[in-house]
Amino acid sequence: MVGVEALNVYGGAAYIDVGRLCEQRGLERARIENLMMREKTMALPNEDPISFAVTAARPLIEAMEPAARARIEMVVACTESGVDFGKSISTYLQDLLGLPRNCRLFEIKQACYSATAGLQMAINFLLSGTSPGAKALVVATDISRFALADDRAIQEWAYSEPTSGAGAVAMVIGDAPGLLRIDPGAYGNHGYEVMDTCRPGPDMEAGDADLSLMAYLDCCEGAWRDYARRVEGADIRETFGRLCFHNPFGGMVKGAHRHLLRRFARAASSEIDADFSRRVLPSLGFGQRVGNIAGGSLYLALAGCIDAGAEGERVGLFSYGSGCCSEFFSGVVPQGAQALLAKQNIGAGLDRRRALSMDEYEALLRGGKALRFGVRDAVPDAEMSALASSAATPRLVLKEIVGYHRVYRWV
């Protein structure tokens, strides 16, 4: 038996109201409703994927008995917001969290599929039995800072601006899974080369939104077919009490769910709507407040699902990463999971964020105060960093970069 023993989300210290942002950008009503987004988190200049990751993981590590902590033998950082082409974020996690040295430390990249790749790496490490009783820490961490490069970059990014967020989801994987017991060997993959969205340079994102939506839908179908090929008797309607999807925005999840039910269950529209409300909608709660956090989005959905009550249910999970690769897999939520997850007070953490004004948001976005990729020596801008909520503590922040080395402190 292996799976998710503990999970925490760090959703930042500042956010912008998405409705207000859309109005500011003059977006059409049809598009705004389609998004199903309320708020999105903004990373501040003294925050980065490492500070987010450590803040998310620390409560989980501190809650572990020393003997259990000593059995963490793998730390996987899953991100498309890397800070170095060689040195993994996991090395900083090992140090800042006081983790053992007999540990595999590395970083995984495949767009929004990365966290699932990391989770499966950890799960299969444990299932292999090569180190009985071992545990793994998997952290999905991503921020969006794309309006920095130039006007062209801003234009490229404009489509995803309303939904691109920032956040980290940390998970301890082990043989006493209190949150999600993985169904071993129950998975399906679908991946191929497609140029739908990409991050061709630091602080840049580019792509074709329509193609990305189509690739997501094709992968949803393909990954489900592969799962059903492996798992005898699997039925998209009957097998799962809940469904969680990679969530760039709620409208996309709704469309994917509808496609699966129409194609594989031949369900009518009214049945599909009712099914979505029952099995999928509960998982969208946290994502609607943080925005698209890439690989972590699916696990934010899982957290939302458990938080809303899913004990005893088998959950089907669909992960999609542009470029592309996808996976459909499943697990069961054990009794006690809701109370266990509630200890992290994820919702309250989001409530503690500070609401940015549009002026503050624009200043953050275009003011050029963010530390650029590859900077050798720097101190984050104090004024912009102070836009954070004073209640969002304890959290890790970047103090300075010296000779490319990142130095942090707790606030």
């Binding site: 059409e28 049809a30 598009r31 389609n34 497609v194 074709d208 939104a209 329509d210 193609l211 939506l213 189509m214 690739a215 839908l217 094709d218 179908e221 393909g222 409208g251 996309m252 709704k254 469309g255 509808r258 496609h259 129409r262 194609r263």
Partner: protein, 80 residues
């Protein structure tokens, strides 16, 4: 010859956007220009593919400039 692809797309479009009412929709129109959002554009295509019994990846129909071009591609997929 009946343009089954076009008929299927229009039926799907009117189902998803009844507010179009009696407005004529031609092959030269584009779904985006008619105010259809990205999710609904994909939905229209999927509904049309379903009606025409086309079993193919939806991405195969990416990049059509207008409804007419999309209809042509659907007709070609049916014939294949």
């Amino acid at each position: 010859m009946e343009d089954e692809g076009f008929k299927a797309l229009i039926a799907a479009l009117r189902g998803i956007m009844p507010e179009l009412g009696g407005q004529t929709v031609s092959r030269e129109d584009s779904l985006a220009a008619l105010g259809v959002n990205s999710i609904d554009r994909a939905e229209i295509l999927l509904v049309a593919m379903d009606a025409l019994q086309i079993d193919a990846p939806i991405s195969r129909f990416h990049g059509a400039a207008n409804i007419g071009e999309l209809a042509d591609r659907l007709n070609a997929a049916r014939a294949a």
